[in-house]
């Protein structure tokens, strides 16, 4: 600690150069923060504790093919299944086609399988009682300024009502929220009564889009999944059952290999950064050779000189990195506040900071290594005589 002020003064010996370098580091870590937030959002989808005990059953043909509702009783009877529910994709939009919604028709027990959706008991009861009742996520409600008791018209894009109208009216009877900040994106759904859907839709009634099962013992998930699929083996509606995590991961990976894209950009950014700060450190050490020689003369060991230079470059990275990540954190929360939590960006949290700090230290060491070795190896007698 006592060396900190020495390192600090050396670092800012050439203020302009150091500041410019720090600005470059800030830019790099700002990008790191933003991109890591995007990557995290995609990597985090479906990863939650409650999800570990849930299975999803879809048609083996594809997700868009529906399953008969008759499966419900038979799945319920599978040993190890403690609860079953199902859902139908509805989609649709509010007011304009650009306001596409995530809406699903669900039976009344749906929310007992999703304890992460926090909903007052009274509101859940009205969902049971009001046929056209709908439960919406808090973020979605905020986005369109919906309140309890509002009647909202939703334009169907797939399922017109009997009689051909595309307009479905819903009564908002409940607003749920999700506590885990990483799962805020799940506050963007609208759920409405499956019975209403079944009775009013022109087609697609009498089917379930997919089933969701809760298993009593997550360890038995594989066995239970196989037992569920065995029910409809060799029928015309064969099923595929997998854990919710696996299901979502496979689904997200169909959009794009986000990891690869983000990884390539970060690679380019940090390669550039290493070269840039490496050059600064090399310059700084080159012009400081006599000073380092003095430190050695006074009695600083080779190792202390090595550590001093390394500490300096790590400090350089740490200052820029911390500022950059802080800006990224502010920017991300700004973007999320403005565009709503449905945009795929996670808040810059502890995890991101840990990764960032690890990167700062690693890059600082890499960048400082060569100059530090040069400082360590210098011969006092040569350096002092200007050789």
């Amino acid at each position: 600690m006592k060396y900190l002020s020495l390192i600090w003064s050396t670092l800012f010996r050439r203020k302009t150069r150091t500041l410019f370098t720090i600005f470059s580091v800030i830019a790099a870590f700002l990008l790191f923060g933003l991109l890591d937030s995007v990557r995290g959002a995609f990597a985090n989808v479906g990863h939650n504790v409650a999800g570990a005990s849930r299975l999803i059953t879809i048609s083996k043909q594809s997700l868009v093919v529906s399953l008969p509702t008759s499966l419900l009783m038979r799945i319920q009877a599978v040993p190890g299944v403690s609860a079953v529910t199902y859902a139908n994709w509805f989609g649709g939009y509010y007011q304009e086609p650009k306001n596409q919604l995530v809406t699903e028709a669900v039976p009344q027990n749906y929310f007992t399988l999703y304890p992460e959706f926090v909903l007052p008991a009274a509101e859940l009861r009205s969902f049971h009682d009001v046929r056209t009742g709908a439960i919406v996520g808090q973020s979605l409600a905020q986005r369109f300024n919906w309140k309890l008791g509002d009647k909202i018209p939703i334009q169907a894009t797939i399922f017109p009502q009997k009689g051909g109208s595309n307009t479905w009216m819903f009564d908002i009877v409940g607003i749920y929220h999700v506590s885990d900040p990483n799962l805020k994106a799940e506050e963007n759904q609208l759920y409405f009564n499956w019975d209403y859907f079944d009775q009013a839709t022109q087609f697609g009634g009498g089917t379930a889009g997919w089933y969701i099962e809760r298993v009593a013992q997550p360890k038995q998930a594989d066995r239970v999944a196989r037992a569920i699929d065995a029910i409809s083996a060799n029928s015309d509606h064969e099923t595929k059952t997998q854990s919710e995590d696996a299901f979502t991961a496979a689904f997200v990976s169909q959009f794009a290999d986000i990891g690869l894209i983000v990884g390539s950009i970060m690679g380019a950014v940090f390669f550039t950064l290493i070269l840039l700060t490496g050059n600064t450190m090399a310059q700084a050490v080159r012009e400081r050779i006599p000073e380092l020689a003095i430190l050695k003369t006074i009695g600083f060991s080779n190792r202390s000189v090595l550590s001093l230079v390394l500490a300096e470059s790590v400090l350089l990275l740490a200052i820029g990195g911390a500022v950059g990540l802080a800006i990224a954190a502010v920017a991300v929360s700004g973007i999320r506040a403005k565009l709503g939590p449905q945009i795929p960006m996670l808040p810059v949290g502890t995890q991101a900071w840990l990764r960032g700090v690890a990167l700062m230290i690693a890059i600082g060491l890499v960048v400082g290594a060569l100059p530090a070795r040069r400082g360590m190896r210098l011969r006092i007698v040569d350096a002092l005589s200007g050789r």
Binding site: S253, V269, L275, N279
Partner: protein, 413 residues
């Protein structure tokens, strides 16, 4: 207008700086600077690599957007129209009953073929889940059930191997890009659709979105998926692009159904909009932030360069050279480094990513396979960014060089 002028600025300023080389004074000062560049290679490479990074990332991301947009837009055209159930944004969400599919073809705006039959293709779209090559997970692939008229509407489609499917049989032809992405798509392989085995009999290439699809006979697909005689969409050839409004009006006035028509160009452009715009915004944002970093790197290098040339510049000034040539010579040096960086970045992006294949989940809930396209316009755009960074990064050090008092510089002797 303002943006347009700003867009040209890097070219204009660069041209101006290079033109200044016609001046003898400028040329001789610049030559001295550039001849010492070799000794400052390490520092100079910071400018080059920094700018190469910016240009590389920018060009690669824009090439992705360009490739996706082009793939979808080229699928559509102005003289074909697609009819979907009113309110549906995509084929998979649309449904038309048999009566509607017949009536749509009978509208007077629809072109007729040599035999006098309307060119109208009622088509079925279903999604199948197939294993992707090189991965253990399944991905969605679009299966399109077509009739005879589909061939007349998609004139770009060529068979690259095998033959077309035989109507009435469970045979499939596979788009060239789908064939690259999915397992079991070789000629003669069996694919399970709707619980029944289908045989792959051909591979077709259209260079557009259809390349990501599997095609089979509409009636056979419908029976496999128990879809009856209803269809998802009808695509027609219009007598001329101007007929669209009349066609829409004719459909709207028919009380038997509620449908919407748009040109296929419109339809497919709409599908590319969101992703294309997202990638462009992402690419530009990333490039701007990287450019800021690169500018500071360039400033550092060029300030150091000016500092190391203090004596030389002061001597030149003492001999009677004016400040202008000194400014220009520093700018030229930076621009040369910037151009080198821009070219390297562009070449790397081109070599790595031109025709790089990627896929995403398209509007029909299935994989759209597309290739990155590194176009000359994108390369020129990248170079423009390089020049802009070079100009900004070189200007301030250049001004310092020019303002340096002669006596201070000479004292360092």
């Amino acid at each position: 207008m303002l943006m347009k002028v700003l867009g040209w600025l890097p070219w204009i300023l660069t041209a101006a700086v290079l033109l200044a080389c016609a001046n003898g004074q400028v040329r001789s000062v610049a030559q001295v600077g550039i001849s010492t560049l070799r000794q400052r290679l390490g520092a100079a490479s910071v400018v080059v690599v920094g700018i190469a990074g910016v240009v590389g990332v920018l060009v690669a991301l824009l090439a992705m957007a360009q490739g996706f947009q082009a793939t979808l837009q080229e699928t559509g055209s102005n003289d074909t129209a697609i009819v979907l159930r009113s309110g549906s944004q995509t084929e998979i969400n649309s449904a038309l009953d048999h009566a509607a599919t017949v009536v749509i073809g009978d509208e007077p705006q629809v072109q007729h073929d040599a035999q006098g039959r309307p060119i109208a293709s009622p088509e079925l779209v279903v999604v199948a889940s197939l294993p992707k090559k090189g991965s253990s997970t399944d991905a969605n692939v679009e299966v399109r059930g077509i009739g005879q008229d589909a061939w007349a509407l998609r004139t770009r489609v060529r068979m690259v191997s095998g033959r077309r499917f035989t109507p009435g049989l469970r045979e499939l032809i596979v788009g060239a890009r789908a064939a690259k992405e999915f397992e079991h798509t070789e000629l003669g392989s069996k694919i399970d659709l709707g619980g029944q085995p289908w045989t792959v009999v051909g591979v077709f290439d259209s260079g557009d979105e259809h390349d990501s699809e599997l095609w089979g006979d509409a009636d056979v697909v419908a029976s496999a998926y128990r879809r009856g005689d209803g269809r998802n969409s009808v695509t027609v050839r219009l007598k001329s692009p101007q007929q669209l409004d009349a066609f829409k009006a004719a459909l709207a006035s028919d009380p038997r159904f509620k449908v919407d028509a748009s040109t296929t160009l419109d339809y497919y452009s709409r599908q590319s909009d969101l992703l294309t715009r997202t990638i462009r915004i992402l690419g530009t944002t990333v490039a701007i932030i990287m450019a800021i970093g690169a500018i500071f790197g360039a400033l550092n290098t060029m300030y150091a360069a000016v500092a190391s040339r203090t004596r030389e510049i002061a001597t030149l000034r003492a001999m009677g050279f004016r400040g202008g040539p000194v400014v220009v010579s520093v700018l030229i040096e930076t621009l040369l480094l910037a151009i080198a960086g821009g070219v390297i970045g562009a070449v790397i992006a081109w070599a790595l990513f031109d025709h790089y294949t990627a896929s995403t989940l398209g509007a029909n809930f299935s994989q759209v396979v597309f290739e990155f396209r590194v176009t000359p316009a994108l390369l020129a755009g990248g170079l423009k960014w390089a020049l802009a960074i070079g100009l900004v990064g070189g200007l301030f050090p250049a001004l310092r060089a020019a303002r340096m008092p002669v006596t201070d510089g000479l004292r360092e002797l």
